[in-house]
């Protein structure tokens, strides 16, 4: 039996090291421990406590939510290409946030963007659940695709109708996804929902294991499949919806994280959950540190970086699957 505790410990250790290192670089310059000492270090301490620390915590929280939701959705659909955006959660969040920017609510009240984003994520996933309920996993996926398509069209419409170039610029920036300039307010707003969602997602482990034998055998083993689908949808809406509402869309973490750990735990869906959450946090944090270290005139958006790295990986996965299937 492969050791799951050992893998978790290694990932956690790696995460702690990276978390400490991530506090050093940033747009405001390097911060080293001795920079925080003394009377003239007021500004450095402010940067440390009000920018670096909340940004680090947000990276861990969002990365874990994406990695875990990806593992759960891949377990539910038994498809290694599934990712959290599948249920309309990301497109719902984007639509809500974009509406907030378009209507000017975002400018009047800073937290309007994440609040409307979260509302959009919830509405998007609930719509998916309502349309796809009753059928199997396939009808849920199709409903998610339809809802995502509709919400993306809505987002494009808002962009199209944007009153001034500045609003369009702000909207497209938000949609790229980033942790820059997020502080304690955003963290406190997202954390309760993300934690609640993570809690719900972790309860699906046993059912996901049984589901690796197919829906019929899972049902015969006492798994309530309709309840499992509801748990997954609600958990994803809370965790990924809460995360996406404050960071914007960050792709591929949820797809990648479960793959990196799956073979090491013997492919069992339940055993993938914890390592996938840790790997998600690790990946997101690493990507965020990279955006801060890359010597570019403009800070690279996190969502752009994960997309640039994630797409080739996705392609590699497709190729590998093609090679395996006859």
């Amino acid at each position: 039996m492969k050791s799951i505790t050992g893998l978790n410990a290694k990932l956690a250790l790696l995460l702690v090291v990276l978390a400490l290192l991530s506090l050093l670089p940033g747009r405001a310059g390097w911060l080293l421990p001795w920079n925080l000492q003394g009377n003239d270090a007021e500004l450095a301490r402010l940067i440390f406590w009000e920018l670096r620390i909340p940004r680090l915590l947000l990276a861990l929280l969002v990365g874990a939510a994406l990695g875990l939701a990806g593992a759960v959705l891949q377990g539910l659909t038994r498809n290694p290409l599934a990712e959290p955006g599948l249920l309309g959660v990301s497109s719902g969040a984007a639509f809500g946030a974009v509406l907030a920017i378009y209507t000017g609510l975002g400018a009047a009240f800073a937290l309007a963007i994440p609040l409307l984003g979260f509302t959009g994520a919830l509405l998007g996933t609930m719509l998916t659940l309502a349309l796809g309920a009753g059928g199997g996993v396939l009808s849920l996926i199709l409903a998610g695709a339809a809802v995502s398509g509709l919400l993306l069209a809505g987002t494009a419409l808002v962009l199209n109708l944007a009153p001034n170039p500045y609003a369009a610029y702000e909207i497209s920036h938000w949609m790229m996804g980033s942790l820059a300039d997020r502080g304690w307010a955003q963290l406190f707003l997202a954390a309760p929902f993300v934690f609640a969602g993570i809690g719900v997602l972790f309860t699906t482990g046993r059912a996901l294991d049984a589901l690796s034998l197919g829906e019929q055998q899972a049902a015969s083993l006492g798994v309530d499949l309709a309840r499992l689908r509801r748990q997954v949808v609600v958990g994803t809406a809370l965790a990924v919806g809460g995360a996406t509402a404050v960071t914007g869309t960050i792709g591929f973490i949820g797809l990648l994280a479960p793959h990196l750990v799956r073979a090491a735990v013997g492919h069992e869906p339940r055993r993938v959950l914890w390592p996938a959450a840790l790997a998600g946090a690790l990946l997101l944090l690493a990507a965020d540190v990279a955006t801060r270290l890359l010597p570019l005139a403009q800070e690279l958006k996190l969502g752009v970086l994960t997309g640039l790295i994630g797409s080739p990986f996705f392609l590699w996965l497709v190729w590998r699957m093609k090679a395996r299937s006859p």
């Binding site: 038994r78 798994v223 069992e268």
Partner: protein
């Protein structure tokens, strides 16, 4: 030995009646072959007996209790179910896939306790899978996978085993071997084994009892030697058939 019974079982789907009032009684020690043409309702009957289908009228009783009154988790320990062509969706090891059959008896992350470990080792030995225990199930041959799934179904020590077409896709050697195993589970271990089977020679020689389904009704019920007759096969399959030989060398010969 836990008895299984159906009383006036009716299942309707999309306006048509798939099962039209079925009454039957079965108990431990029996290996029952369900025979009938495609679309006769065999899969539906098996799924209904396993408690996996919504029933429109009548009831299924396991140990005198309606299936609807038994909690799904308890039912999972009493009866095991294998669908047609069961397969695993991830490359789990044989041993871990078999362990999934223990369901709620596994701990937090799916670890098996000492009692469960012993149970897993026993079924792996019984199904000749010890050498393959660490292999990924996705790399097994058809016959090996069938044995692994049987081990998965047996690991929780169910009183009733319901299997939909366990012999489909197996070569003659593996099909006869699977039938021998199912008969032993019934005759030697006292379980009730119900399986839909298309190979009438295997039903004739290995089953202890036959249920013949025709258009949603139970047309015949009894020991294979006296139940599988030329007249019954003619009615079931619409083909002229003859039973040649007798006893353990009897076989069915269709003459189209």
């Amino acid at each position: 030995m836990i008895p299984l019974a159906a009383r006036g079982l009716v299942v309707r789907r999309e306006g048509s009646e798939i099962l039209r009032g079925i009454d039957l009684d079965a108990q431990g020690g029996e290996f029952i072959a369900v025979i009938g043409a495609n679309g006769a309702g065999k899969s539906t009957l098996l799924a209904a007996l396993a408690g996996l289908l919504r029933i429109d009228a009548g009831e299924v009783l396991l140990d005198q209790r309606p299936l609807a009154d038994i909690a799904p988790r308890d039912l999972a320990q009493l009866r095991a179910w294998l669908p047609q062509n069961p397969r695993a969706e991830w490359p789990l090891s044989v041993e871990r896939m078999v362990a999934l059959g223990l369901g709620p008896r596994l701990r937090g992350f799916g670890e098996a306790g000492p009692e469960e470990q012993a149970r897993i080792a026993t079924v792996l030995a019984d199904t000749d899978l010890i050498a393959l225990r660490a292999r990924a199930v996705t790399t097994l041959s058809g016959g090996e996978l069938a044995r692994a799934m049987l081990a998965r179904a047996l690991v929780a020590d169910p009183a009733v085993l319901i299997v939909d077409e366990p012999l489909a896709g197996l070569d003659p050697q593996h099909a006869w071997d699977a039938a021998r195993r199912m008969r032993a589970l019934a005759v030697e271990q006292g379980r009730l084994v119900i399986a839909s089977i298309h190979d009438l020679n295997i039903a004739l020689r290995r089953a202890t009892r036959v249920w013949a389904l025709h258009e949603g009704r139970l047309l015949a019920d009894g020991p294979p030697a006296t139940t599988i007759t030329a007249a019954l096969l003619g009615e079931l399959f619409g083909m002229r058939a003859e039973i040649r030989g007798s006893g353990s060398s009897a076989y069915v010969d269709f003459a189209p």
